[in-house]
């Protein structure tokens, strides 16, 4: 196995990671950028196909050009090694001031000959991003219920509409571009249900409006989506959500209900609506498994805590992008640049620090306006699936928590098997944690803490040692 020392190792090749790489290079550092996919760009830029037809917003074109420029710069810089198909499976903690060892398998996940590599970086920047969070409700696992991200990927990548009468539900501005994409594939979007009520939306978005002026591009982007919705007469309902999906083979209708400020359904407000597809997205969760492995402190929402220079609680470990809070591509770019510059031992540009602060305030507004409220826990019924991989229901988990003395997250997981499947709780982890913490656990812990970050074949793992047989008989 090859071991390589390097100055700055960046994990994650989305906007935050690319921006970090560029800034670290500008600061004179030698950089390695690891990306698991087969291209740079991450979730945001992957979703922007190169030539798009029809009146795209200027702002998106601008971002695409920026992406191409940065990608070219990184490729051409001899101080930068970009490794695609790089799957980080473990990080050994730094002890005694030593450099941490970052273990990587390079190659396609199911390919036969992946190459094991170990990097020994002076600094690590985590830019591993976030993923959509879908809250469970009866019927959420029916065919025809899509995560908003999956629906958008189908619409943009394959140009496939997920249905003809589609309802979009959940929380946050990310619902809007989904609507736009759906409309462009010819689907009829019969409405958008935003779980947060007008009061919260106003508190988040309308307070201190002068601050929003600084986030013009962001506001412009959202404005574009809104204009398109209005143009297609898509009704937008605040304080409403889908609390159940019904159907035999696939979804045929949904129950909509008005929600109170805590996202609890208001009695008597339920009504059935016929649909043939639903797209749901209730927010994002950061992918913190690697950051947690090296011991980074996280806040109550599970985001990694960073200081003004994007430093985590662990020396020489930085985080940028959605790991530190969900704030969109502009925040990710700014945070990446600050982390990269600092990791290279230079001062970040004052203008970027300012931009970061502005977009962070934007992220806080997002949380104020759309953050998930605990009332969602009243939506599932006992038979509602919580963990899809292992087919565990909400009722089973609550029953085990109530009936046994297994009062720790780990033993509850092991007893119920929630979060133990191939995705290792990436999808259901936060939902499980929240359900369990309302059952009064002694030891809630976090589902993302894992010494092995991703499943790797035994043969590959065994080969990482020279498998010297120890001396004992």
């Amino acid at each position: 196995m090859s071991e390589k020392a390097c100055q700055v190792l960046i994990i994650g090749g989305g906007p935050a990671g690319m921006s970090a790489a560029r800034a670290a290079l500008a600061g004179g550092a030698q950089v390695v950028l690891l990306e698991a996919g087969d291209a740079l760009g991450g979730q945001f830029w992957r979703h922007l196909p190169e030539s798009r037809k029809g009146g795209e917003e200027q702002v998106l074109h601008h971002k695409w050009r920026h992406f191409n420029t940065v990608q070219r710069e990184l490729r051409d810089d001899p101080g930068c090694e970009v490794v695609l198909g790089a799957h980080v499976w473990a990080i050994e903690r730094p002890d005694g001031g030593q450099a941490p060892a970052v273990h990587v398998m390079v190659g396609p996940p199911d390919g036969a000959d992946r190459e094991p590599r170990t990097y020994l970086p002076q600094s690590i920047i985590f830019a591993t991003g976030g993923q959509e969070r879908t809250l469970p409700f009866p019927g959420w696992d029916l065919p025809g219920v899509y995560t908003a991200g999956a629906a958008q990927a189908l619409a943009k990548g394959e140009r496939v509409a997920v249905g003809q009468r589609v309802l979009v539900a959940g929380a946050g501005p990310f619902l809007l571009p989904v609507v736009t994409s759906l409309i462009r594939t010819g689907a009829t979007v019969i409405g958008v249900a935003e779980a947060s009520g007008w009061k919260r939306l106003a508190k988040g978005w309308l307070s201190r409006p002068w601050e929003l002026a600084a986030t013009r591009s962001k506001a412009g982007e959202l404005g574009g989506y809104l204009r398109e919705m209005v143009h297609h007469r898509v009704p937008y309902r605040a304080g409403t959500t889908v609390i159940a999906a019904h159907g035999e083979e696939s979804v045929e209708s949904v129950t909509l209900a008005r929600l109170d400020a805590d996202w609890k359904p208001v009695p008597g407000t339920q009504r059935r609506v016929e649909v043939d597809a639903v797209c749901v997205s209730h927010g994002f969760v950061p992918r913190t498994e690697l950051a947690l492995t090296v011991g980074c402190t996280v806040d109550a929402h599970g985001f990694v805590v960073v200081d003004d220079q994007q430093r985590t609680s662990v020396e020489n470990v930085f985080c940028a992008g959605e790991l530190t809070g969900i704030g969109g591509v502009d925040l990710a770019l700014a945070e990446g640049e600050i982390a990269g510059a600092t990791a290279a031992g230079t001062q970040p540009r004052a203008s970027v620090v300012k931009a970061r602060n502005v977009f962070r305030a934007f992220a806080e507004r997002l949380q104020t306006a759309h953050g998930i409220r605990p009332g969602w826990q009243t939506w599932p019924e006992p038979g509602t699936t919580l963990c899809r991989c292992e087919d565990v229901t909400v009722g089973e988990v609550r029953e085990v928590a109530a009936a046994t003395q297994a009062r720790g997250l780990r033993s509850l997981k092991l007893t119920t098997r929630a979060g133990l499947g191939p995705c290792q709780g990436r999808t259901c982890g936060r939902n499980t944690e929240e359900i369990l913490s309302s059952c009064g656990l002694l030891d809630p812990g976090r589902t993302a803490r894992r010494p092995i970050a991703i499943p790797v074949r035994l043969g590959e793992l065994a080969a990482t040692t020279s498998s010297q047989r120890e001396e004992t008989p």
Partner: protein, 381 residues
């Protein structure tokens, strides 16, 4: 201040089974547990019921296990486990699919034949098979296996069910369980003991110290220094796969034990050392041990090579300097008993009987006089 007959320290599988047995004998019992029950050794264990002789050394273990001394205890534990589920009225997923103990080298072969003789002496059924016969029985065995013993009594139980079931059964008989309640003081008072925790004091006639890796600091609270050598070892588990391995597979000379659980995951262990033992938090599994353990596993069971590893974890283990269990009364501290040591999952129902007999002043169901804590007292030989 409350008063009970017996305070049990630690709600691992030993504390749970002892509390149940004592309550059943009519004693009032309180179990004081530092954190959450069944979370340390007993919640991280492989849960194997080791009936045929075990491999005598964990990787890195300095002193070998005295297998000949272990075997009568294993035989008694095997008999005890056959009634546990009926006694508790609960399903603990006790399975006895049997197990192979494989040998690769000349030295392994010697050990295998010697231990088979000892097994016969105590009435444990084992059969020696040559490599090809073993492969005919279990085709997933690799070509390096030269011989194996087969023991039909080897098996496992679900460790996440066993400890909690003993606790529940005890609580039905009046056992009080106090989780989140660390014992901070043990004071001799008249005929008995005063046990202090941050939330109060309990007075009792007997104290049973089943604090696993923490046996030493707790006995020290009573003024007795025991020499213990706690370690942390680790386990590895693969994704769920269709049935592949119908029984246990272990290695006589190396750290390896493998089984496939009902859910379909393959569990791989063998006593490989974790990165370090952290008695204040969770110990971390070591990548080096992982690679070593998995290399053994795929050499003995080559088809495992293409399975993916899902998780690994480490757990603490109360080992003694001579690698033998410790059970019995602490000399010079009347009414203080300890029980612990390796393989305590297998021994849990047996040790509960031994402890209850000691409290009752009745003869022990099995001779354990040589396994008492006296041999571990500082200054003693």
């Amino acid at each position: 201040m409350s008063t009970v007959d017996v305070v049990v320290i630690g709600a691992g599988v030993l504390g749970a089974s002892a509390a149940y047995r004592l309550a059943e004998k009519g004693f009032s019992v309180e179990v004081l547990e530092r954190g959450a029950p069944n979370r340390e050794g007993s919640g991280t264990t492989a849960g194997n019921l080791h009936i045929q002789a075990i491999h005598t050394r964990r990787p890195g273990q300095a002193v070998p296990v005295d297998s000949r001394r272990f075997l009568p205890l294993q035989k008694a534990a095997s008999d005890r486990w056959s009634t546990v589920e009926a006694e508790l009225g609960e399903e603990l997923e006790v399975r006895r699919p049997g197990g192979f103990m494989v040998a690769e080298t000349e030295d392994d072969l010697d050990q295998l034949t010697t231990k088979a003789v000892w097994e016969r002496e105590v009435g444990i059924k084992t059969e020696i098979l040559d490599g090809d016969t073993a492969r005919a029985e279990l085709p997933v065995l690799g070509p390096s296996v030269r011989a194996a013993t087969w023991c039909p009594d080897d098996g496992y139980a679900n460790p996440l069910l066993a400890g909690p079931a003993w606790l529940r059964a005890g609580m039905r008989l009046g056992v009080q369980l106090s989780p989140g309640t660390p014992v901070t003081g043990l004071e001799r008072r008249g005929e008995g003991w005063e046990v202090t925790t941050p939330t109060g004091t309990t007075s009792c006639r007997w104290v049973v110290n089943t604090a696993g890796p923490w046996i030493q600091p707790l006995t020290a609270l009573a003024g007795v220094e025991l020499r213990m050598r706690p370690v942390a070892i680790q386990m590895h588990v693969t994704v769920r796969v269709p049935p592949l391995l119908p029984c246990l597979v272990q290695h006589i000379g190396r750290g390896l034990s493998v089984k496939q659980v009902t859910a379909g995951n393959v569990l791989i262990g063998g006593g490989w050392p974790a990165e370090s033992l952290d008695l204040d938090a969770r110990s971390h599994a070591s990548l080096h041990s992982m690679a070593g353990n998995l290399a053994e596993a795929i050499r003995i069971l080559p088809p495992l090579s293409r399975l993916s590893l899902l998780r690994m974890w480490a757990g603490p283990l109360a080992a003694t300097p001579d690698e033998m269990p410790v059970i019995g009364a602490v000399p010079g501290a009347d009414g203080l008993l300890v029980a612990g040591g390796t393989y305590a999952f297998t021994f849990a129902p047996l040790w509960a009987d031994v402890l209850a007999a000691a409290v009752l002043g009745e003869p022990s169901p099995i001779d354990v006089r040589d396994l008492g804590p006296d041999r571990l007292i500082m200054g003693a030989k």
